[in-house]
Symmetry: D2
Subunit: 383 residues, 4 copies
């Protein structure tokens, strides 16, 4: 299967590595071929392609998509470009591996889904954290009933990379390019995990906050496509929130929370969740992603407690492909797992989620969160 990669920054690197590693550590049934990498600037693009082993380059993403020797389009660009590229890829009959968040809003997501369904292609939204072995293990346990009836989901995704007021106005900080701020970027991950592990969300309340209203304009290299919002003296308006906190009710009655911020001092990639059920509980922290905390009400009365499961045993999801017990894996391995499952979906027809149907639901929750924050009222998610 020949891949066209659109985007060569952080996600382009992570995806390139995943396509390379998956065939070494897994047997996905089809061999991924790094056919063409697509970026804006030919010089840096060629260096990127050489480094990662992409056979060719294109500076026009449409040209890349329509090449007859391309089977898969890997969308690794800023959010505002997802819709256009995905629809075009679907119409060209290419399978789609799309970075998150899916789109600027649920309307775009819905059109992407429809295009993919009409084309009959495999569509995949890369919420890679589903494939941390510890998260996959939590999913397995919940499926086995080890947690019983779920009462609560508590989650946060905390970072601090824009706390410096001199951090520039990159594409992440403008609504037209990012959709929203940490809500789209980080809560989207949490919402995906919550839907995966707990179920559908039926209503949300929300509050957002903005702490730094204007920032220096970025230099061209980091600006992405936009130039709007510029002002005298080289400052521009931040048009997304700096923090977004949500409460949510699930269709099974559980009560949940989602708290995303880029102003959480000292937190780097602090994505945590807790699930409390009638028979047990689990807790996860991405910064210690090889561990899963588990409490069982079935343990003897005098020896109950959250146990720290080091998720590096052959019996744990994906681990038999890597190293012996106690030898941890890292962030990028979740992308390798995603590539594996996506390729198997193509080769063997095994469904791999989240797909674009999930993405539409997720974008509906994201949109509802923004609406709830703006209106000060609880918003129901459409069914």
């Amino acid at each position: 299967m020949n891949i066209a990669l659109i985007g060569t920054k952080f996600m382009g690197k992570a995806h390139s590595n995943a396509w390379r590693q998956v065939a070494q550590f897994f047997d996905p049934g089809v061999a991924p071929v790094l056919k063409v990498a697509c970026g804006k600037h030919r010089d840096s693009l060629e260096r990127f392609a050489n480094r990662w082993g992409w056979e060719s380059v294109e500076t026009d993403w449409r040209a890349a998509i329509h090449r007859p020797d391309v089977d898969i389009v890997d969308i690794s660009v800023p959010t505002y470009l997802h819709h256009e590229i995905a629809v075009e890829a679907a119409r060209a009959g290419k399978h789609i591996f799309c970075e998150k968040p899916m789109a600027l809003n649920a309307g775009q997501a819905q059109e992407m889904l429809e295009a993919a369904q009409q084309a009959g292609v495999v569509h995949f939204l890369n919420h890679n954290y589903r494939r941390a072995p510890a998260v996959a293990l939590a999913k397995k346990w919940i499926g086995e009933g080890k947690l019983g009836r779920i009462y609560h989901w508590r989650s946060c995704y905390l970072q601090s990379w824009i706390m410096d007021p001199q951090f520039p106005l990159t594409w992440h900080l403008r609504r037209e390019t990012a959709g929203s701020g940490p809500h789209a970027d980080l809560n989207s991950h949490l919402i995906d995990l919550a839907r995966f592990l707990v179920g559908e969300i039926v209503s949300v309340s929300a509050m957002t906050a903005s702490f730094i209203p204007q920032r220096p304009m970025p230099d061209e290299a980091t600006s992405g496509a936009f130039q709007s919002g510029a002002q005298a003296h080289g400052f521009g308006d931040v048009t997304v929130e700096d923090a977004a906190f949500l409460l949510a009710r699930f269709d099974n009655g559980a009560l949940g929370s989602f708290e995303a911020s880029r102003f959480a001092t000292g937190r780097k990639n602090y994505n945590t969740f807790e699930i409390y059920g009638s028979l047990g509980g689990v807790c996860f922290n991405l910064e210690r992603m090889n561990e899963l905390q588990y409490f069982s009400t079935g343990d003897p009365a005098d020896s109950q407690g959250y146990r720290n499961v080091l998720v590096t045993e052959p019996v744990h999801p994906y681990i038999d492909h890597w190293w012996p017990p106690g030898h941890i894996i890292g962030y990028e391995h979740t992308f390798v797992h995603a590539a594996y499952d996506f390729l198997r979906a193509i080769a063997e027809g095994i469904p791999a989620g989240p797909d674009f149907r999930d993405g539409v639901r997720e974008m509906q929750v994201i949109d509802a969160g923004l609406q709830a924050a703006a209106s000060g009222s609880t918003v129901e998610i459409p069914r």
Copy 2:
């Protein structure tokens, strides 16, 4: 100063211990005398008084309050009795040491405050966790500016003691006796800590959940005063929520969360908060109450991280009265600290908080939370 203790259950025990211990480990200026203990059942009351060294007993709380040899009334009974006792105590000119939550609602709290102010007595609301040394240390640091501008408050108070559906319908589970469920019981602690450490709350959004609608009626010994709500077969309606999650905006612009539940599997007394500011962050967990996590943005770039301060040094609040470094203290010590500060407030006029003014503000936030949950809309707190 002669004390009348009203209530002989969990809080009666904790308060008795505090009045006894404070004179051993501290020099509060005035010596507390355990003058009279007041309870409903003479037999158990006398056993209690003997054990803890109360000089006399009363089964009528009004009689206890009006004894001329009583200077302080210690209110350690269920919430619904606070208002009546406090108002009577104030009118009798007695200083008041009142357990939390202050009252069933802000209206009651306001009347309690007015009565105390008119009487000119010292009034104190015992949110004991302000006096965990680690919390007092966080307060000190914030006062020194170590955290800078505060962006976030995140907090939870999670327990699991009523997850068994056979747990009986005690007074905690009825609105007329408890006001509300974990919202009044647990969020009240968090709201007090947030006001203490961050500042006033200006608006809240909220969601609550109920998981077990009916429970067995308690036997008489544990029922408290009420008998309403009983039904055929000995079951009664739970009329308070089982979980209450809040979002809040502070007057300094910070965004916060408060999450209280009695259905958090495996959590016993899991009261935690995180504060994120422009210059630093702190994190606290009551189950490890001798520790405080602290992050400073002023540390060298390659050695930044949350440090675990073991708050047992002589330079830490209250600690010089106890043991050498590394020798931890326990839950009940926070009550000793409260007794110390309260007695000093009487003896030396040093204000000790929270007082009833704080209690009114806190009850307004609690009421607003219930209203927000019921209405699905953000509620502003009156100024």
Copy 3:
């Protein structure tokens, strides 16, 4: 039972509190009466006695011991005085509650044991950490066979309070008053715990280290009894080690380690042990003394891990006398438990350990450790 307390410093305070608290929280069968406190300086002694409620004072410990109204002698003075006081107390027919370490060496300990046995008094060595609920729980589990055959004991007791070269030459730092340094002070605790939990030690290897050879002479108030070792300019020789590391073989074949230091940067009272057995493991850390880590090989293959048991449940040792689940206790509670068990030993004849027989064994291991370090050879412990 009337108590004579010999010593009014750190341990005098901790013991006074224990004798006071035990009757409030426990029912030891006999009521302890704080009859007489004994110290060197009458002024500070009287202040101490007033604060803690000792009925009378003596500045001559022999006089205190021989008072006919004294039943129990509580030895809370520096180590070098234990032998003389204990032998005298035994001969006077008084029950003995003796602080650790038992004596300067095994020879002294043996004489103390013989005196106590001849007198037929209850003799008790206060290794209080046996009575941390988490440690008592580990003992219970081991007794139930939950750990299976024990392979390893790993332990350390790390502090840092003398790292400053200006810290004075107190009695702890002279061989004639302390016996040895952290070996006697800290390893003695670990050895007691190891004997309690794992079994008898049959041989040891050891290395010690000294980092600061001379220190300023203390002022008289902190010097204890000795004045030897003084030199020109007010410095004296440190004659005990600063750190003592031991390896040990147990009679059940287990291999163990004991590592004590007063030069462990940032460690305050870091007393930890790990026990590894064929069916399970436990880990303890005194700075988090309300927790016990437990691993069971009987857990399902995909959910094994060390679980953190919060030892605050009514089913846990001693806890039903204190607070509800999740409300932690502190350092001094271990003394209350010791007082409780000691008084019951007197009242009901229930043996309470460690007694002086245990103390002799422990001192033999301590002596063997010093001998092994000096000789560079493994030393067998006499049987």
Copy 4:
């Protein structure tokens, strides 16, 4: 630079991945070419070579070494084969990348060193944990003087993979193939780290233990080369220890410990160290290898504590080649770093340690440990 890999099991896989990844994430100056893989069984060898991209295969390691198109020999076979292969490789003028432990004993190591020195080739011993970013950061800090004078090294390497008595008698459990048990396998890592971070070891005391004297013979596939020791009924003698605990004195006066076991229940790859110095301390745990605990005595008195540095910042060693802050790396990345530094040593002459000189010193400490355990006496390390 063309590589010949000798060995295709766990280490063969880890090394293959490292040679592949290093050119993607780093710029080592020379490009590694996976020229030839060498194993015993042609079928599995070819599958291995195909998967990992080795251009050719050899079943005779001498043939592989002597191929003129080979520049580097990567020794990834059981310990007993290291000496013969390394000497041959050196004589053939090939650079050597050798797995640890270096050899069966110091004598072999010395011969390997001499052969490499005579040949003038680059020789490298792959103690990969030196290149965990957190360990490299500790090294940097120590070099900067942040810890001051070092008083203590405490370390352990605990596993549990042979606790089942049915675990077969693999080559790791026979002295002639492994040298010793966890002492050679695990203490060797700790000794390398201690020498790297603290300095030379001058004397050791030791105790070892054996818990399971005989085990089932392995099937041929897992037996390695040996067939000795077999007995009736298919059991054979375990001829290495199951646990090895060491005490050590360093030439700077520090006192240290090294504790390795394969019978530490629940521990998988629990490699931890603590270093205590006059100005600071650091603690590391391989199972959380992206973190480093750091204590500074220079912090303000009321905010001292071990801080948890998440070693994922661009300012941290190696990290700028990987992912943004908070995105952790895994076990195998340490091999990529080793490959990078080894290749730079060849290309640019930058020395990379540990080399065979270090290996000889390390084997001397290992031999001294075995001798100390056997003799019961402290053993001095030759200078």
